[in-house]
Amino acid sequence: MTIKNRVRLALAFALALAMVLAGFGAPAQAQDRNTLVVGFAQEPDNMNGFYSSMAFAQWANDLVQASLYDFSDDLQPVLVLAAEVPTRENGGISEDFQEYTVKLKPGLKWSDGKPLTAEDLVFTYQMIKDPANNMLQGSSIREALEEAEVLDETTFRLRFNVPKPFPEDLIGSPGLSTILPAHIFRPIYEAEGTIENAAENQDPTVFSGPYVLREWRRGESMLFEANPNYVFGEPKIKRVLIRFFPDTDSQYAALAAGQLDFVPNVSEGDIPRVAASNPDLKIVTVFGGYIESLWLNLRTDEHPRAGHPALKDVRVRRALRLAIDRETITRELLAGATKPTDSIYAGSPFENKELGVTPYDPEAAAKLLDEAGWTLGPDGIRQKDGVKLEMRYSTTTAGWRNNIQAVIQQQLAKVGVSVILEKYPASEFFGAFANRGINAIGEYDIAQYANNTALTNPANVTVDEALNCKQIPNESNPGGQNFTGFCSPEMDEASLITKTSLDPEERLAAAYKIQEIMRDQVPLINLFPRGDNYAYNTKRFVGEIRIGSGVGNQWFDIMNWELK
């Protein structure tokens, strides 16, 4: 046991003898204007972004890392280390889209003063490419990169094995958020053949971002100090202290008590109570590519399980969408932090705003259902040919989702649709096909959860994986991700265009087409976009602060934040 914990134990015994109802009015630590106090509900497992899947690790990393270019809160590119975003026009991307030539700004430095050059970048890409490094992130780069070479001190070239029209996945912050200092890692790599076990991963010493990690007290906190060698100059706030809490409850308690300035992870269900806990708090939702939706089981094969026969009829699906009052849900259950949507691209520059949002119209829903042959039975539930319109509506055990389930159940009951509510722990709900995961084997009719996809370009991972004809899971294809079983060759074609076409106009048109098809065919009913919800104490900050999307770097503007 550490000395610190031993002292705590001894303290416990001492307290036992001298326990008195004392301690009132102990003065809280005065907040100072040079330290930003942030609360995390989990401790990062690794300070090398390539070796972690934890959101909190990514947040901690982004504080000390600079990327080539980033995205602002309205998804506009922000140049950080790169001198320009490579395009075909400026020669940064070759005609065949397989070569990138990237220029860095001149005079870049690491936090230890050593120059940050193209060599560090090329070394990083080489490390990503080498499977011996066992990285958890960067798989798309690993699969596509052929070679990386240094052209001069501030220029390097990347060569890919297939055309790559979207640089942000490969050189922007969504794709590359960590740059490794070659002068630290190369000796380790040459000695051990891998950087996986480098001490630098857990106790880093060299950084490129706005802050440097000064001290990491395991189990307690991380202290960061401003980096004078940061490309945009030293940040205004001199220190950042990240405190770890065992869970969100204690985190919110500290936030409400004014001990924390900023919390990056407020979940939907907690928004109302966090907002109510302290009038100085402000909650900001930055849309980040999650759209909470009701995914419908359209599978036909019996093995595993086919969905309710009614769902095969597109009129029924449209009726369901008309019968759900999404506005009330977002307004009452989510404190209005988000608004209903019908687009899988909601919040991105590629959203087809013309399509609008289907209104809440239970009468139209009832009419459609009647038209489809599902007529009201004596018990108030619709039926057709002896089959009741009763479906299984499943989601995870998260409390806020269960509340939405209960509300939707009632709304659907009004039009004669009966749903049975089921809840599963996440490990079962999202489990793999081989582990009889609920979604994977089709044990549902309506499933509520959120997809996640970067929204920085029209190629949409959700459409590509979760709605693709070839991705329907079954015995011979257990890894398939298309749990709804939806298949539209037309949409698959449009999706292919968004991924491979070299003409941005064509890609946008294809993205619009995808949204049209989904609006029309309703493989899933979008509820509302979810984003990353941040809470901060307005009393502590000068003015408003800008927070980036989780797709890129949330701290993209932190050097401009100022405390009172």
Binding site: G269, D270, R273, A276, T328, I329, E332, L333, S394, T397, G399, N402, N403, A406, V407, Q410, I420, L421, E422, K423, Y424, P425, E428, I438, E443
Partner: protein, 322 residues
Amino acid sequence: MTTQTDSLQGKPAERVLSLDPKQNVKGVSNFARSMRRLRKHRMAIFGILLLLFVILYVVIGSLAIPESASIYNDPRRALQPPSAEHPFGTDVIGRDILARTIYGGQVSLFIGVTAMLVQILVGTAVGLIAGYLGGIVDFLLMRLAEAMLSIPQLFLALIALRIFSDPTQFPDFTFMGRRFSSTMIVIVFVIGLTSWMRVSRIVRSVVLSVREQEYVTAAHSIGAHSWRIILRHVLPNCTAPIIVSATLGVASAILLEAYLGFLGLGVRAPTPTWGNIMGEANSYLDSWFYWFFPALFIMLTVMGINFLGDGLRDAFDPRSLK
């Protein structure tokens, strides 16, 4: 022996009664005598009254208010304090809390009683088998009991509940027109199967002490069946402590269910129980009505049971002085 602690390992402290079989040879009339003593026990009567109040609340309530009232939600009227329309206020999605405490109470009480029955049956069976067969069977069974007592009941219950609650294998069921989560039945067995140890020890010690008696050897020698011996000699001696244990078992089952529900890991929504209503309420402490009423009912029930249990214990105790 343990007392009530938060980790729920304990059941109320019990005295092991001195069980001299000779005293109970007269069986029935002893029982009647005990019942008479009970009636005079003031606290026991008070306990019975409390329980009657709760039971009547739940029964009459469900006759007066339909179940649909506990399901009907209106998010626009969420978290409203008590009013004429909603005497106990509304919950986070606008459901009436009074109705939910009535129907939740039915579930909580049902779980309490049936879990106790499971506990008694299993405990008695194990105690009889261990005491009668002795030897290696006894050894293993008692080791098993020890093992189970080493782990906090709450932890055991959580794990067992999760394993046996896959809706695809244990689907929700309908009973008398109402829909219940299968976790309700699972929780009954989980609680029962994690609390049998104490009862089995009591029964086992009775069996062991009876076995030594001469009249048992005598009965055997004239060819009396083991079953008869068990029925006529062992079980009557166990009745008193088992009844006490059973009564208190209901209380601890109700509490355990409440704690599990509070953690959100017990009976699955939307089936309400007093415990899971409180679990929802934990995020809305300002709305005192949300948690106050279910907690109050739990307390009244448990208090009534404890008073009654204490009274029963005193009534059955041949050494009682009053």
